[in-house]
Symmetry: C2
Subunit: 109 residues, 2 copies
Amino acid sequence: MPTNRDEQAPKPDLRLINQALAMICGKWRLYIILLLGEQTLRYTQLSELLPGISEKVLAGELKALVALGVMKRKAYAEMPPRVEYKLSKKGRLALPVLNQLQEVGQLFN
Amino acid sequence: MPTNRDEQAPKPDLRLINQALAMICGKWRLYIILLLGEQTLRYTQLSELLPGISEKVLAGELKALVALGVMKRKAYAEMPPRVEYKLSKKGRLALPVLNQLQEVGQLFN
DNA sequence: CGGCATCCTTTATGATACTG
DNA sequence: CAGTATCATAAAGGATGCCG
């Protein structure tokens, strides 16, 4: 016979949770994803939209998000160089839920 | 005239985002919230459901979540002592979105 | 039982200078 | 322009012992 808790709420999956947290946790990561949304932005545009972020951290976060498959990086062989970032399909699929986190934040007002 | 981006996706609110992240980020915080769900659990039960968490971290996370207003702590003046934790109304309101984060994690499989 | 205090290790974040 | 390298600080997490 199942317990009351099993019926009402199956035990959360720690692995799924950690994958979601890897995508959004950190001082800038979720904000970068939401900011990007459906647009394509260049490295410099992102740095202007994230005032106060250091070069090292921005480059590191972008690299990590690309590695996670959340966003895509496209470099053009031009001079001066141009690099564009946009969400991957995976990132776009996650977007609705991630945007809802702002409503969760709203609960604290 | 609004820009294309303004129409499609208003700039995310960093303050709301940070409030949501404060609630869920960290190695255990989101898992504690989802695990609690609609139940009431004692301190020792929580520690058994979070294998590997240290006393310091568990006590600190519970205290932080109570301070954030996400959960409630109820201590009984018995011997031996008994302390119960459950989600506050705020925590229960956030629960549906937080559970959806597992589906976001599912995207990485 | 349900913590807190202390000390320690690991990650995360940041400032800055430099380069293909 | 779009980063990397190096150095430094801060925050998170953990091990362990003690206490009301």
